[in-house]
Symmetry: C2
Subunit: 329 residues, 2 copies
């Protein structure tokens, strides 16, 4: 069997996760890593695979079936994905929800013009959580959907803490409020405010001599990040920080509480949850499964930009149609 040849553009946590995920899938192989750093300084873990500059990619079009783009959503992906879609079939995990329509349009145009297939916003939210929203809302049209995140590290909020003067190290955990989730599970369909759904827990190592009261105040009142939440700030030692807060766990819940029946008073509850020890490794695993789907859909002649909504689940599995019907249905 000819393996699906994957390129990785961007070799940070996500790119390294993709590399590890490829190893778990026998029908795939890593063809190259593309980086903005000096490739000579980058050691690819997979034996026999090299690092290249982003510019080198153009010369390797015929060696790569799917390019998985592992940049950040703020500034990398809006440029990289449409650009790389000119030369490759591409997939990214773009997660700035508000800008998805614009990103989709840009990538769709670039991919279509060049006869390529692209997928954007592949991961768990957007991604698997989106799938659960569309399935649940289509099945239970009379109902309410709730998304809770955590417990997990928010990179954006952790970065915000670290920008405060006097903060040496900082990390923020988003924590879903258990009582709110229990109300939803009980079928009460509550209206929940931002504050009622999540709390924010911060762990901070202060610079020597820093004003901890001032740091705590700065965090708790920070607009758009913390002011609408109940936030706790814990000052800890650097040793404790390094020992306990060195992981990137995350996860969350998508719940649909719906009503059916003649009087629409029969309660039906759908709940999906993820508990992830490593957010980037999991997102990588989702990307790799969708890279398989992408290569199959491309082989059937599809072009342009797709999302998880457009991918029939059978495309994701390495098993044949007969096998999945016999063993998974």
């Amino acid at each position: 069997m000819k393996k699906i040849r994957i390129g990785i553009a961007g070799y940070g946590n996500l790119g390294k996760g993709v590399e590890m995920a490829i190893r778990q899938n026998e029908d795939m192989e890593l063809a190259g890593v593309f980086t903005r750093r000096d490739p000579a300084t980058v050691t690819v873990k997979t034996p026999g695979v090299k690092a290249y500059t982003m510019e080198d990619a153009k010369n390797m079009k015929d060696q790569i079936d799917v390019m998985i783009i592992c940049g950040g959503s703020a500034t990398d992906l809006p440029k990289q994905t449409p650009e790389l879609a000119k030369d490759f079939n591409v997939i990214d995990s773009f997660d700035t929800h508000a800008n998805i329509p614009q990103h989709f349009a840009n990538v769709d145009a670039a991919a279509k013009e060049n006869g390529h297939l692209a997928m954007i916003s592949v991961g768990w939210d957007p991604g698997l959580f989106s799938l659960n929203r569309i399935y649940a809302e289509s099945i239970l049209p009379n109902g309410k959907t709730y998304t809770f995140w955590g417990k997990g590290v928010s990179q954006g909020h952790s970065d915000a803490i670290r920008r405060i003067p006097g903060v040496k190290r900082g990390i923020q955990y988003t924590v879903p409020v258990e009582e709110a989730m229990d109300q939803v599970r009980a079928g009460k369909q509550p209206e929940l405010t931002t504050r009622q759904k999540h709390t924010r827990e911060c762990f901070v190592v202060a610079e020597e001599g820093a004003d901890k009261k001032q740091i705590e105040e700065s965090i708790k009142t920070m607009k758009n990040y913390f002011d609408e939440y109940d936030t706790t700030v814990n000052f800890i030692s650097e040793e404790e920080f390094d020992a306990v807060h060195n992981k990137m766990p995350h996860g969350g819940f998508v719940m649909r509480s719906g009503m059916t029946g003649e009087n629409e008073n029969t309660h039906q509850m759908i709940e999906y949850s993820l508990k992830l020890e490593s957010n980037p490794e999991f997102t990588s695993s989702v990307l790799v499964a969708y890279a398989r789907a992408l290569s199959r859909m491309k082989a059937e002649g599809m072009t342009g930009c797709k999302t998880v909504f457009d991918v029939a689940p059978a495309y994701l599995s390495p098993l044949s149609a007969d096998e999945i019907r016999a063993h998974l249905l």
Copy 2:
């Protein structure tokens, strides 16, 4: 907008649930109910809609876009679905897992020969649980999948109880073992026996003068139904039975415990669960959402037999592609 015209073949709990689900979807309408009973004795709840004999269906081909077949899996569907697929686009909830490949082949042949599109085994297991198995196994290839059912009424086990001499009324609940689920959630990937995964709770109204010890013994030792489980049998009054055990709740859990990362020691947990106050009403809601998908896929020219694995999620939603990307992704 032209509505999707649905026919219902079989007007029991499932068929009535389909009728109620159609009311919740503005893009659909009920075109007719087809029954093996005398149609004169059947009152359809939807104003203006009539009951017909199954034979009448042949004369109404141009009035029905999708026929939802609401018969039982044991004897009805293996005959009805291939037969009706000759004249209609059809969908069923065939749930005898072991016979799915044969049923698929029969329905596929009938549908293809006549240019129709069919979907089989649409519901929650098979159905939504199958989807969660394929998504989770494709994303986390190194792992173990667990399915737990309940707490809910098993029709087959309740029927088995009622066949025992001296039993006037009987119902059986399948109950998942909480400790087993917690082991899975903790990432232990245990090997679980049948007994360790579920218990069976029975509620029985005995005939006057019946030997309760004998009934209990007959239930607990019944081959294929109860002998491999820890079973409890509760004798209750007919009043209590009618007051408490008059519903058809069900549900369950699909869990995937997987490992990622360089040493494959990062634990990632995916869990999907349903808590349903009415099993038939929920299955009906799934059927109706997939009837929408079926009518769209047929409009694109597809024929033959499909399962939930072949249906891209976007087909299920009444919203447009732009809307789902903007609001659900």
